[in-house]
């Protein structure tokens, strides 16, 4: 979760959670017509590896030229982003311009990453001078670098576009759609789904407790941070980035600037992790794709970067269709998100009882509830709804694949937009700000000193014997 909140902005006015829930469910709702054989989203663009630009895009199902499908996808996403901004009080022209530029840059980068020189994994398909073999998911990295270049070389332009570059909105909507994809991939393989779910919960149950305790202890004892800083730092570094730091800051009534400063570091480091960790995982664990996928969920902070790292990791392993890698990273991340609310409630009670001055304003229970991530409702609705449907009515399995085909045409471009936004929000100059050295050091020591290694061990324990593609079970 990488949007840096404005200190004084009312939280609910621009709640990306609500929009993500609504948009995710709207796409799923329309795609559900696939159960009856109709594909109302069949016009959406599907990106393919290409050498000839005319073959780079084709529609999901409708008989349209590729360029028209691409234009339709750009127009649809731009309109929705613009509508959101207009509802939030922006002028129509500035909202439409910013949204259009962000969407064109995001999808353009994603398209560029599908060029055969970058993406092709098979020599027989294309004649190219060289090929990196990164699959089309390399488009995410192209989007990330585009965002980084824009945010750091043209900060003025990035600031003007930032209203439309909403990492949280993109990634949370995409996560709702991952619910469909997880259900479609595991239907008929109930045992595999249950196993991944159970192992995912087991992995995070202890991971966040161990991380939080160690980071808090390190911050308070070795680096001598006051409590007001140590708790948001521990949550931001150990649980789930920006949202955890902000929620913890609110729960212990820290000054808003504390959580904002912690969050700015989280964004920078999650981008570094996103670029480095998938490649490191591929090198370190050549035969354990599911350990690598779980590792991304447990080690990379912020939803956007973690799920994105899962997508890059999947591209590096190329395990084949029907694999559960991104689904596993996402699952672990969403379960960690669920713990944010619970943990903040515990911290609010402890701080209220022992550390806050008598008679000070109490933290309301509803404040904690309001900070629970709403988009998870959409994720579980989509996942469980389709699982129940597919298991009780096996004749719907073909229709569910049509549903997935339509939602995937939105999930992947949304990921690309999230990567672009992560890059744009990553202000590398923050690292050189005066006074940041101690914060930087505690982050470095925690992440690279023990969090990624503990995450690796825990991922190994729970996922080393799970295949990336569930075995076909014959009745």
């Amino acid at each position: 979760m990488t949007q840096l909140p404005n200190d004084s902005a009312p939280r609910r006015a621009s709640n990306d959670d609500i929009w993500a829930l609504f948009l995710g469910l709207a796409v799923v709702g329309l795609a559900l017509f696939g159960l009856a054989g109709y594909q109302p989203l069949g016009w959406a663009a599907k990106f393919e590896e290409w050498v000839v630009p005319a073959k780079a895009v084709k529609p999901v199902a409708w008989a349209l030229p590729g360029w028209l499908a691409l234009a339709a996808s750009v127009a649809a996403v731009t309109s929705i982003l613009s509508l959101r901004l207009v509802v939030l009080g922006k002028s129509v022209i500035s909202a439409a311009t910013a949204s259009a530029v962000v969407v064109i840059l995001g999808l353009g980068s994603y398209l560029l990453g599908h060029h055969a020189c970058v993406a092709a994994t098979d020599d027989s398909k294309f004649v190219v001078p060289f090929r990196l073999g990164l699959t089309g998911e390399a488009g995410y990295l192209v989007a990330l670098f585009t965002g980084l270049a824009l945010g750091n070389l043209f900060p003025g332009a990035a600031r003007r576009l930032s209203m439309a570059a909403r990492t949280e909105l993109f990634i949370k909507t995409a996560i709702v759609l991952v619910g469909v994809s997880l259900a479609a991939k595991t239907l008929g393989q109930q045992a595999a789904a249950n196993r991944v779910l159970l192992r995912g919960v087991a992995a995070i149950a202890e991971a966040y407790l161990l991380y939080w305790g160690l980071v808090y202890l390190l911050a308070r004892t070795v680096f001598r941070f006051p409590r007001e800083w140590a708790a948001p730092l521990a949550s931001g570094i150990s649980i789930c980035g920006v949202s955890a730091a902000m929620a913890t800051g609110a729960a212990i009534r820290a000054r808003s600037g504390v959580a904002v400063l912690v969050s700015s570091l989280v964004v920078v480091f999650s981008t570094i992790e996103l670029v480095v960790l998938p490649f490191f995982a591929r090198w370190l664990l050549p035969d354990n794709p599911m350990v690598a996928a779980a590792w991304m969920g447990l080690a990379v902070k912020t939803d956007g970067a973690a799920v994105a790292a899962g997508a890059v990791t999947e591209a590096l392993y190329q395990p084949g269709p029907g694999n559960l890698m991104v689904a596993t990273t996402t699952l672990i991340k969403v379960f960690i998100d669920l713990f944010i609310g619970v943990w903040c409630f515990v911290l609010a009670v402890v701080w209220q009882r022992w550390f806050r001055p008598k008679g000070s304003e109490r933290v309301r229970f509803m404040e904690i509830v309001e900070r629970m991530p709403l988009f998870l409702i959409g994720y579980f609705l989509a996942f469980l709804g389709l699982m129940v449907l597919g298991n009780t009515m096996p004749e719907t399995l073909k229709g569910i694949k049509l549903v997935e085909g339509q939602t995937e045409a939105f999930r992947k471009p949304l990921f690309a937009l999230a990567f672009l936004s992560i890059g744009m929000a990553t202000d590398l100059r923050r690292l050189a700000s005066p006074g940041m050295a101690r914060l930087l050091l505690v982050y470095l020591v925690s992440i690279f000193g023990f969090i990624i290694w503990m995450a690796l061990v825990i991922s190994w324990i729970f996922f080393h014997d799970i295949p990336a593609i569930p075995p076909v079970v014959t009745p």
Partner: protein, 46 residues
């Protein structure tokens, strides 16, 4: 960076050190103990 954030960073550098309270030790100890216990138990069960 806003003035408030600069002030916060300055205060962080120059402010007094808060000693670790007993409640904090209990909180951190509980996290580490429960986390380790869960890890061992779940790893054995699964």
């Amino acid at each position: 960076m806003s003035n408030e954030q600069e002030d916060l960073l300055m205060e962080l550098e120059t402010g007094p050190v808060e000693p670790l309270a007993r409640v904090e030790i209990i909180l951190v100890g509980s996290c580490l103990a429960v986390g380790t216990l869960l890890l061992v138990v779940l790893a054995c069960l699964l």
